[in-house]
Amino acid sequence: MTEPVIELPVDRKIDTSHMKVTDEVAIQITGMNKWYGTFHVLRDVNMTVNRGERIVICGPSGSGKSTLIRCINRLEEHQAGQIIVDGTELTSDLKNIDKVRSEVGMVFQHFNLFPHLSILENCTLAPIWVRKIPKREAEETAMHFLEKVKIPEQAHKFPGQLSGGQQQRVAIARSLCMRPRIMLFDEPTSALDPEMIKEVLDTMISLAEEGMTMLCVTHEMGFAQAVANRVIFMDQGQIVEQNEPRAFFNNPQSERTKLFLSQILGH
């Protein structure tokens, strides 16, 4: 069997000097189950994420991968098991939920920028109202991160005036303005044209290079190969296989993973 060719669509060298997985536990999920009505979406999920890890979660649609990361900041409620994020357990206690949410950044497939606010206001809203940071300071932070995602010149435009790729980069900057310790990506490039996928992946790679703990639901296998330290394959609401990327792509163990990879890598 030949090794599959997985290309990263971004033409750049990746600086791995700061990508270090530590022993500190960032997210601990034990025996987590979730149902939609009577439909069992997540079945006995166990998973530990250490600080500095870059995890890519993949799987066919309906496999529960989005639901899993949405449970981590309680956009979805789990019905059984335990999720501990940064030492805070997610229960129905609103205080804990708000605490976790302000520590965990999330990037959505459809960006979900606030269309009635300018780019800058999108980025400063949560720091001002949740973190109680003075407006000027919040604006400085926002400009810093907008420069990092390479669109400081768009700061005073509205989301509707930007391209999809630009909007997604703003969404990443908006999350970063809260100085999160963990970033969740829910199919960040699935709604984008190929050219725009590049710019978003580029931003995500820079983030990984700085040592951010990242959980990405994505079909960008090139990104997984180049950046992730672990790839998780999910099917029917359970984790079927996980491995470091090289082994995962070159030597998948389960039949289900092999089938999925052969479809997505197309050979």
Partner: protein, 432 residues
């Protein structure tokens, strides 16, 4: 410059074309007239017919309007001056405009409602236009008390002690907040109510006996005309929007009790004709109140109209809420905003923007519904028109009075409609 041919598949463009001016007849007035008035046989026909209809209407009405009589003491005098020709008798407006505007308000005190109206616009300005300095909002908040005092008069200590009640509420909130948030909300409601019930009255009379300041008191039954339409309309409009927002949020709430209360309220109010609510306010409400309490008919009517409008408002805003994508709620949640902050900063600005046409529609409808007050013996403009006709001098006059009243309402309703269009344009940031 050869373009692609079927024979030669390979093609490379050598020069890029510069943009050119559009053809002459595709721009300016010629294009507009061609596109909008005479774009085809059907449209040309419709244009001609419309012009004929407009001409016919104007030629029918304008002689009557142009030939109007402005100075006469009675309808028969008008008819004598017109001498059989067709013409309007606007002399009735010249004779009775003050009644149509102010009802039986004492004429020497007309400056008070006029000043209240001028100050109303001053108070509205910062609410309506963001370019006005935000500090002016403090005056807007005080305006209800100033307006009340100008129109009704009486001791100045009455509005002041009522206003102090809100201060008491704020202090109670801040004091109890250190202990418990929920208790603080109860304290903020309970403290002012206790203040108004037990402290405000004695305090007012003692302050008044020490320093009797104030304006001449005007009884509610003397207030009438367009003044009462404005009082009731403006109060009910400004109260129904916040109440409508709360009802809409309550209806969407996960808390069963709150949701049920809101749904029952909205469905009950929407299911009952306004006129029955007004009759209830004027006749029956006193039976349900503890004996000895009686509060002003105008206040009761304002409450009923507010309830009525807020039920409709709630449904209009619910429509706006439903139009928001779920992602907006999720993004607000994911950033750690709590429920009220998310509502205030993310959800409501967008939902209200979507609902502007519906909200203003409700406002305009309710403002015009104030004419229904004629049925509960409040002297609003239509009631006064009837009263004026009952005078032997003006017996038999219809059109002129109704045209005047209609024009008054039109000015305000058209103003609201234009403002809502301005607001929609200003808030258009989605660039679709």
């Amino acid at each position: 410059m050869s373009d692609t041919h079927a024979q030669t598949v390979s093609y490379v463009r050598q020069t890029m074309l510069a943009p050119q001016e559009p053809p002459r007849n595709q721009t300016g007035a010629v294009k507009w007239v061609h596109e909008n008035l005479f774009s085809g046989w059907l449209n040309t026909g419709l244009t001609v017919i419309s012009l004929l209809v407009i001409f016919w209407l104007l030629s029918g009405i304008s002689p009557w309007l142009l030939n109007s009589v402005w100075r006469a003491g009675s309808l028969s005098e008008c008819r004598a001056i017109l001498d059989g020709t067709s013409g309007a008798c606007f002399a009735v407006i010249v004779d009775r405009w003050h009644q149509l505007l102010f009802g039986f308000y004492p004429p020497e005190l007309y400056w008070r409602p006029v000043l209240a109206l001028v100050l109303l616009f001053v108070a509205l300005a910062p609410v309506l236009f963001t370019a006005i300095p935000r500090k002016m909002l403090a005056f807007s908040a005080l305006y209800p008390f100033i307006g009340y005092h100008l129109i009704w008069g009486g001791s100045i200590w009455f509005p002041i002690t009522v206003l102090l009640g809100f201060g008491v509420g704020a202090v109670a909130y801040l004091l109890v907040k250190k202990i418990n948030n929920l208790a603080a909300i109860f304290a903020a409601i309970l403290a002012p109510v206790l203040w108004w019930l037990f402290v405000a009255g004695p305090l007012e009379s003692s302050l008044h006996s020490i320093m009797p300041l104030g304006l001449d008191f005007v009884r509610s039954d003397r207030i009438g005309g367009f003044l009462i339409s404005m009082i009731v309309g403006v109060s009910a409009i400004s109260l129904s929007l916040p109440l409508g927002i709360l009802l809409a949020l309550g209806r969407q709430s996960d808390m069963v009790f709150i949701k049920t209360v809101c749904v029952v309220f909205i469905e009950f109010i929407r299911g009952v004709p306004l006129i029955t609510l007004l009759l209830f306010a004027s006749l029956l409400l006193n039976f349900f109140l503890p004996p000895g309490t009686s509060f002003d008919l105008i206040l009761r009517v304002i409450i009923m109209l507010t309830f009525f409008a807020s039920a409709y408002m709630a449904e209009v805003i619910r429509g706006g809420l439903a139009a928001l994508p779920k992602g907006q709620y999720e993004a607000a949640d994911a950033l750690g905003l709590d429920y009220w902050k998310a509502q205030r900063l993310i959800i409501m600005p967008q939902a209200l923007k979507i609902s502007i046409p519906g909200i203003v529609n409700t406002f305009i409808g309710m403002f015009k519904d104030t004419t229904l007050l004629v049925f509960i013996a409040i002297l609003e403009p239509l009631a006064l028109a009837n009263a004026i006709r009952a005078d032997t001098n003006w017996n038999g006059i219809y059109w002129e009075l109704f045209i005047f009243i209609g024009a008054l309402f039109f000015i305000f309703c058209f103003g609201m409609s234009r403002y809502s269009m301005y607001l929609e344009r200003k808030l258009k940031t989605d660039h679709r």
